[in-house]
Every structure is written in C-alpha cells, then in structure tokens.
C-alpha cells in the first residue's frame, strides 16, 4: 500500500511541476491543481497509513491520527479558494492582454524561411 501511495503522490507532483512550467495559463492552472492534490495526499500520509483506524476514541481497537485529516480539510478549502481566484485571474489576463501566455506576450516565433512556390504554369 505504501509503495502505491508514494508512487501516486510522486506522479501527481511530477505532472503538476511539469504543467506549471508550461507557457500557457491553462496548463499552469491545471498544474497548480494537480500539485495541490499531491499535497493533500501527502499531508494525509503524514499521520502514517493505517487500515480500519478510527479517529474517535472508543469506536475501534486501532486509532488513526485525526490531526492530518483536519490539516487536509483546511488545505483543501484554501486550495479551492486559490484555484478559483487563479482561474478568474487567468481569464482576466486573457481578456486584458489578448493572449493566454503567462508572460502576457507570445514569445517571438523562430524565423522560418517562406517556402517558395514554384510556378508550374
């Protein structure tokens, strides 16, 4: 279980970081979202992974640490608000700047030689 869990968190983080490094705002927002998913899973595991553990006393033989669950809940709420804000900001940037590049301007295109049309006439 630990290995699968760790691979999942790692994969989400990897995808998140990769998408954050893209040049357009949409992949960046997606990347930030994936990164926050990875963080939530990671925080959850900081109380150790346990099966059948209850967070409330007197209901089970084994207990899970309730604090990481509370932390994850807080992190999810904050993550929602931040994602909502960054989506709106990205849309506003698209409207204000006329493109969806993170720098607000498209990078200069590499010059390609115009193809010569051969006159076959």
């Amino acid at each position: 279980m630990e290995a699968v869990y760790a691979v999942c968190v790692g994969l989400l983080t990897f995808s998140g970081v990769f998408l954050c490094l893209r040049g357009r705002t949409f992949p960046v927002v997606m990347g930030l979202t994936l990164l926050s998913y990875a963080v939530n899973l990671f925080l959850f595991s900081s109380g150790r992974l346990k099966l059948d553990g209850a967070a409330i006393l007197g209901t089970s033989y084994s207990y899970a640490d309730p604090l990481p669950q509370a932390l994850v809940l807080t992190a999810i709420v904050i993550g929602f608000a931040m994602t909502a804000f960054v989506v709106i900001l990205a849309m506003r940037a698209r409207a204000d700047l006329g493109n969806d590049h993170v720098d607000g301007r498209l990078p200069p295109q590499p010059e390609t030689k115009p193809r010569r049309k051969k006159d076959k006439a």
Binding site: G16, S36, A38, L67, L71, I78, M82, F85, R92, A93
Partner: protein, 503 residues
C-alpha cells in the same frame, strides 16, 4: 478584557473588514473611509497596549478554544511579535490615509482588503503554531493578490499572474514541508518542535532536514531571497502606491519566519540539525545584496529603484540571519523596522511624484516640473538619505549595528564590503534618480493637482520614523536586544509556552 488582548490585533481588522462589506457601511465610500480609518486606529491602539502589556508582564500565551498546547492552537505574544504587529498597524494606517485621497476610488473593496491583509499579517506574527502560520500566510496572500491588481491595467494583470502562480507553488511547498515535519516530529507547535528536534533518530533527522530546507525555500520566496526574487520588482513597481507601501512588510514576514523557525527550531539547540541553513544562507544573502544593487543601478523609474532597494535590505537582513548570534538578531530587528518604514515612505513619495509629473510619471526622463518641488524634494531627500544610511537618520544606526554584529574574521570579510558597497550604490542610484526627477525639467506649465493633506500626512507619519528611531535609539536597541534574547534562549520561556510540558 486584558486576557483577550493578544487576539485583538487579529480580531479587530477582521470585524472591521466584515462590517465594511455590509450595507450600512458598504454603500458609501465616505463611510467606508471613516470606518476603515477607525478600525485601523483601533488596531493600532490594541497593538500598542499589547506591546506595553507584554513588556511588563512577559510572554503572553493565548490558547484558542482552551485546548492546551501542544494539542490546541495557541497565539504567542512575545517582544518580537508584538513589535512587528505594532509596525504593521502603523503601516496599514498610513496606507489607508494615503488611499483616502482618491486611490481607493479606482477599484472596488479597497478598504476591506487592506483590513483583511492587516489581519493576515498580524496573525502570522502572533501565531505560535506552524500550521496556523500557513493559514495566516494564505489570508494575507489572497488579500494581497486582490490588492495587487487593484485599479486594473495590463501591467498589473501581468505582474499579478506571476505573483499568484509563484505563491501558489510556494504554498504547496510549505504544505509538503509541514507534512514532513509533522510526520517526523509529531507536533506543529513551534515551542514543542524545538524540544523534539534534538531527539530525532538519524533517519528521521534526515527527513526533518529536508523539511527544514523546504521551509527555507518557502520563506526565501516570500522574503525575495536571491534565486527567488524575480517576482518582486515587477509586482511592487506595478502596484498602486499605498498597496506597495503595505507590501513593504510582506518581505519582512518571510524574514520573521526565518528567525522564528530557523533560529528557534533549527537553532543552536537542534542537535545534529543545529544551524543547518547557515552554509546556504551566507552566499545567498550576499548575492541577494549584489543582485539588488545591480538592479538599483539599472532601474528606469523610482518605483523600480525602491523595489530593488527593498531587495538590498532583504539581503542585509539575511546577513544578520546568517550570523546567528543574539547581537546580530537584535541589529537585524532594528534594521527591519527602519527599512520597512522607509521603503513604504519611498513608495508613497514615488506615488506623489508620478501624480505631479504628468505623462512622465516617475520615470527618470526630462519632463515638466513637479507641482510642489520644495515639499516633494525635502521628503525625497530625507527618505533617500535614510535608505542610503547617511548619519543623522535611522539607516545609519541600522547599518552600524549590523556591521558591529559581524565582528568575527570571516564574517567581517564578507559582510562589511557587501553592506558598505551596497550603500554607496544606493547613494549613486538615488542621487542620479533625484537629480533627474527634480532638476531636469522642460519649460512646460504644470497642471497637476497639489498633493492632498491626507497624502502628505501619510508620508510624514512614515518618515517621522527616520529621526525618531535615532532620538529613541537607546530604548529601541535595548528592546530589540531583549527580543533577540527571548528568541535565542527559548528554553527559558518553555514553562510559559508549554504549560503542560512537551507532548
């Protein structure tokens, strides 16, 4: 009442901001201005009372919901945090005063946002729990996101997106670090963490080291430490003047967290992890000063120049963090207060200058002359002298204390030339900028409005710190020394911070 004093600097701005959003106050700008000034002044009074109370009665522990630490969340008011809370409250009041002249009309919800940000910053300073520090970071950040694009425009949106994306990545890293530290130490209370960190096994201490390093990256991002400082110039230069003035404290929140976490938790008593960031932070601090100085020489306008000087001051503060002695921390705290006041004042002065120079704004080009050359000239001159560290003002004392703190051989060799040359560069950049702004002028008639009384009052409130911090230099340095002592000798106050003993 007196036992609830600790939470008032957080609660009052929150109540103020909420009531400003409701109908009786939210419907008219005049009422909003009055109410927000009232709440900011009230917060200022509460912070002052808290400072005096803490000074006479010692560290105050405020346990929220009566869950005793280390299990519940606690607010801790010690000498360091109350000083910074008072500083923030003064700054917010000045920003609001300045904005009342008309800057608050360029977008919605200016006053509630400033109060929310005040709440976030005060909370970050007062909290004794590292997860709560994260929560208050988010409160102050989301308010700052909205404030940064206040007024709108291409430049602000562009700088805003960078700022938001970078800080969201920073928040994720912060949470990763918290997860690692909670997993290894089993607690999030800062005082409790400091007792646990020396007892870790070897494998766990490697993990905790990774967590601590991640925190250095996060706080470095907030403080604009060298490889993470690129967002600052653009964000600060494009923000509205009162917003930029309030942002002057934001980099200091990062420095404060470095003091709080890396001096207290990973400080001298941390066993194998003692002073673990020291080898990293020395070169980064010096390179930050160098990068800021080069930026200052290359700045095309006054706001960017000031933003680069903020980076220089962050580098100087990082040097005091790197030295890690009580004396250096005390010097750093004095310098922190001074540089916050003066960079905020400089941003406001830049706002006044660009308002009176027509199209040229605050760019260093020839243009029509400002409407009130005598007033603005004097204000600019005082602020510039203070930033550069020329004797009669507080910059001189701040830099002198820092130089005195770096007295060991290698420290002196690196810190002295860096700080002295950066001051020289600040003098060059500011005098070049000032001569262009005030003396290279065309013969066009100026039609700009003179500065309003609100604006002049706000600038004077901040600039007064320059002479006052010299006049009351004795008591102030004594205070910062006591605050540094409290910070470095945490075991002495563990009885107050953890009444039930470590978990």
């Amino acid at each position: 009442m007196i036992e609830h004093l600790t939470i008032l600097p957080v609660l009052l701005p929150l109540l103020g901001a909420l009531s400003l959003l409701l109908p009786p106050l939210g419907s008219s700008l005049e009422r909003q201005r009055l109410a927000s000034l009232f709440f900011a002044a009230l917060t200022l009074l509460a912070s002052l009372a808290l400072l005096l109370h803490t000074r006479s009665e010692g560290i105050q522990l405020y346990v929220l919901g009566n869950w005793q630490p280390p299990f519940g969340i606690a607010l801790v008011a010690d000498l360091l945090s109350t000083m910074l809370v008072l500083l923030t409250s003064i700054l917010a009041l000045a920003a609001l005063l300045y904005a009342c002249a008309g800057e608050d009309r360029t977008g919605a919800y200016f006053h509630p946002l400033i109060l929310f940000q005040l709440m976030g910053i005060n909370g970050a300073f007062l909290t004794g729990d590292i997860f709560n520090l994260f929560v208050f970071f988010e409160v102050l950040l989301i308010a700052s996101y909205a404030l940064l694009i206040h007024g709108g425009g291409k430049q602000k949106t562009q700088a805003g997106f960078h700022y938001v994306a970078l800080n969201l990545v920073g928040s994720s890293l912060f949470l990763f670090a918290l997860g690692i530290l909670y997993g290894t130490l089993g607690t999030l209370n800062i005082a409790d963490m400091s007792t646990k960190v020396a007892q870790l096994s070897e494998a766990e201490s490697t993990l905790a080291r990774a967590g601590g390093m991640l925190l250095l990256v996060v706080f470095g991002l907030k403080a604009a430490m060298l490889p993470l400082h690129f967002w600052l110039t653009r964000a600060y230069a494009s923000a509205a003047a009162p917003v930029a003035a309030l942002f002057a404290i934001m980099t200091k929140v990062g420095i404060y967290s470095l003091f709080r976490i890396h001096t207290v938790v990973f400080g001298d008593n941390a066993g194998p992890l003692a002073n673990m960031i020291e080898p990293w932070i020395w070169p980064l601090a010096i390179l930050t000063v160098v990068a800021g100085s080069i930026g200052a020489l290359a700045s095309p306008n006054l706001r960017e120049l000031t933003a680069n000087l903020v980076i220089v001051s962050v580098g100087t503060l990082l040097i005091t963090v790197a030295i890690q002695s009580e004396k250096a921390t005390a010097a750093g705290l004095y310098y922190l207060v001074h540089s916050t006041f003066i960079s905020a004042a400089m941003f406001l002065i830049a706002g006044l200058i660009s308002q009176q120079r027509g199209k040229a704004a605050d760019r260093f080009v020839m243009s029509r002359k400002v409407r009130q050359p005598a007033l603005l000239g004097v204000l600019f001159f005082v602020a510039a002298m203070t930033i550069a560290g020329i004797p009669p003002f507080s910059g001189f004392i701040g830099k002198l204390l820092t130089l005195q703190a770096a007295h060991a051989g290698a420290e002196m060799l690196w810190a002295w030339p860096t700080i002295l040359i950066s001051s020289l560069i600040a003098i060059i950049a500011l005098s070049r900028g000032g001569t262009t702004l005030f003396w290279r002028r065309s013969s066009d008639k100026t039609e700009a409005e003179p500065a309003s009384h609100w604006q002049v009052a706000a600038v004077c409130l901040l600039l007064l710190a320059a002479p006052l911090m010299v006049v009351f230099g004795g008591p102030l340095t004594q205070y910062t020394e006591q605050a540094a002592q409290q910070l470095h000798q945490l075991p002495a106050s563990l009885d107050i911070l953890l009444p039930g003993g470590p978990s």
